[in-house]
């Protein structure tokens, strides 16, 4: 149940210049061993989301191999559950129907589905929302539903694209806590894309930092801290500082999107804080 990304190269043809194509990923290699939680951290446009969607099978690759649990990836499949940045929950189904949908696709018998649904809903404290439609939920609730849907079938591998990107700061902290407790119970092999340093350190066993140079891997940092993680510990801050420093070189002062602004703000805050410590 590991993910192996082996020399993956991907380019997009640009619409206005047909002959030229933009190289997004060049010879990207990394591995996620069984049961490990790995984050892909990087500025906007570094190809981290592209890498994730290639592993999911949503788009192809020009060359290289993606092997999940010993099988080469050619298309999307239920062995790799995906958590979307904007949830991608079906608005015409109720919460319960959304969560049981993957089980229905796997032909899990109805009684078992209902039992599992109860279990999952209580795991995320969403029992009352079972019969609500998606547009009646808050952002944080949608996020939890999306996560429950992803883990409903006990996938071998969980892929998450900025899973907490669209919720506010308070909710984010709370969801990180819940996410950690849920995933620690299951020990699912997880790959998460994020641009939030704190989130990466808090949740991951390992953090891979990608740069803007065709997704080259700048660093591969193992986070050796006990769970649940103590945000106030010296070591935790050490990891945050180390990754912030790496991101700074990855950004090299070029701010393109809101995402990059977030990173810059984080870097600034980190610097102010470290000065206060001195």
């Amino acid at each position: 149940m590991s993910i192996i990304v082996d020399h993956v190269t991907k380019s997009f043809s640009e619409r206005n210049r047909r002959r030229q194509s933009k190289l997004v990923l060049k010879d990207v290699c990394f591995e996620v061993p069984d049961g490990e939680f790995v984050s892909l951290l990087g500025p906007s446009g570094c190809g981290k989301s592209t890498t994730l969607t290639i592993i999911a099978g949503f788009q192809g690759r020009d060359s290289g191999d993606v092997i999940v649990n010993g099988r080469t990836v050619t298309r999307p499949g239920p062995d790799r559950a995906f958590v979307f940045q904007d949830y991608a929950l079906l608005p015409w189904m109720k919460v319960g129907e959304n969560i049981t949908y993957p089980m229905k696709m796997q032909r899990v018998p109805k009684e078992e589905r209902e039992k599992r649904l109860d279990e999952l809903l209580s795991l995320a404290q969403l029992q009352e929302c079972r019969d609500q439609y998606i547009n009646e939920l808050s952002g944080g609730m949608k996020q939890r539903v999306a996560l429950l849907r992803a883990i409903a079938c006990d996938p071998e591998v969980l892929l998450m694209d900025e899973p907490l990107g669209a919720v506010d700061f308070q909710m984010r902290k709370l969801l990180q806590l819940q996410l950690e407790s849920i995933l620690m119970q299951k020990k699912v092999t997880t790959l998460m894309v994020t641009h939030d340093v704190d989130e990466a350190v808090y949740l991951s066993d390992r953090v891979i930092v990608m740069g803007r140079d065709h997704g080259n891997i700048l660093a591969d940092v193992a986070i050796e801290l006990d769970r649940p993680r103590d945000r106030t510990s010296e070591k935790y801050h050490g990891y945050c500082d180390q990754l912030t420093e790496l991101l700074k070189t990855a950004l090299s002062g070029e701010v393109f999107t809101k995402e990059d602004e977030d990173i810059m703000n984080f870097i600034k805050n980190a610097e102010i804080e470290s000065r206060r410590h001195c």
């Binding site: 949503f58 298309r75 979307f84 991608a88 079906l90 608005p91 949908y101 669209a166």
Partner: protein, 218 residues
């Protein structure tokens, strides 16, 4: 993307809300459109007084006379039967248009290739005025219901195709990836994503087609 999503779900919600309120007959009085009723009364009064002031019933008939004639017509069995026949034709014509238009519209909305292939023809044939079809329709289908239904269906089919295709194209492309990654096959993609996602567009299409049908059937 998110905005579009919200719009879509809002449309969906308002649609389901509407069907819910329609089931509750007791609320009908509460939901009565009072501003429009007032406007109707004002218009009727204007007609009544206007006609009497002008006082030339041949060019501007009195309100009460016209109402009387409408009353007579509505109690006449022959007229009622004619309305029934027309209604049946409109419904049947729209149904045929729907049966042909729905799959075509869904295919065109889903696949850019099919859209590219078919849209020039759809857009060209769509421009032909209804009356121009009538002689051909009579030659093909003879007299009677045939040509009427043909023209109605033809008229409806384009409206339904265009609205269905627009509805399908409005679906968040992530939904396809989402259900595929949960193991859905082509049948499930149509059943659980394309059809419900396009439903608001389909309903609009049917409504427009029926409205236009009433105008065409004359």
């Amino acid at each position: 993307m998110e905005e579009k999503d919200q719009l879509q779900s809002r449309q969906w919600k308002s649609f389901s809300d509407r069907s819910r309120t329609m089931n509750m007959g007791t609320q009908a009085l509460k939901k009565l459109n009072y501003p429009a009723v007032t406007m109707l009364l004002v218009l009727m009064a204007a007609w009544y007084f206007g006609a009497h002031v002008y006082n030339k019933p041949f060019v501007f008939p009195y309100f009460e006379v016209v109402m009387g004639r409408i009353g007579e017509a509505l109690t006449d069995l022959a007229v009622l039967r004619a309305i029934g026949i027309t209604m049946r034709r409109v419904l049947l014509g729209t149904l045929y248009g729907f049966i042909i238009g729905l799959p075509l519209g869904m295919a065109m909305g889903f696949s850019p290739l099919i859209m590219k292939t078919l849209s020039p023809f759809v857009n060209a044939v769509r421009q032909i005025p209804t009356t121009a079809w009538v002689p051909l329709a009579i030659i093909w289908f003879g007299l009677g219901d045939g040509p009427t239904l043909f023209v109605l269906a033809l008229h409806g089919v384009f409206v339904i195709i265009l609205n269905t295709a627009a509805g399908v194209m409005d679906i968040n492309p992530e939904y396809y990836n989402a259900v595929k990654s949960m193991g859905a096959g082509p049948v499930e993609i149509v059943k659980d994503v394309i059809f419900p996602g396009a439903l608001p567009g389909v309903i609009t299409g049917i409504r427009l087609a029926m409205g236009m049908g009433w105008m065409t059937v004359v």
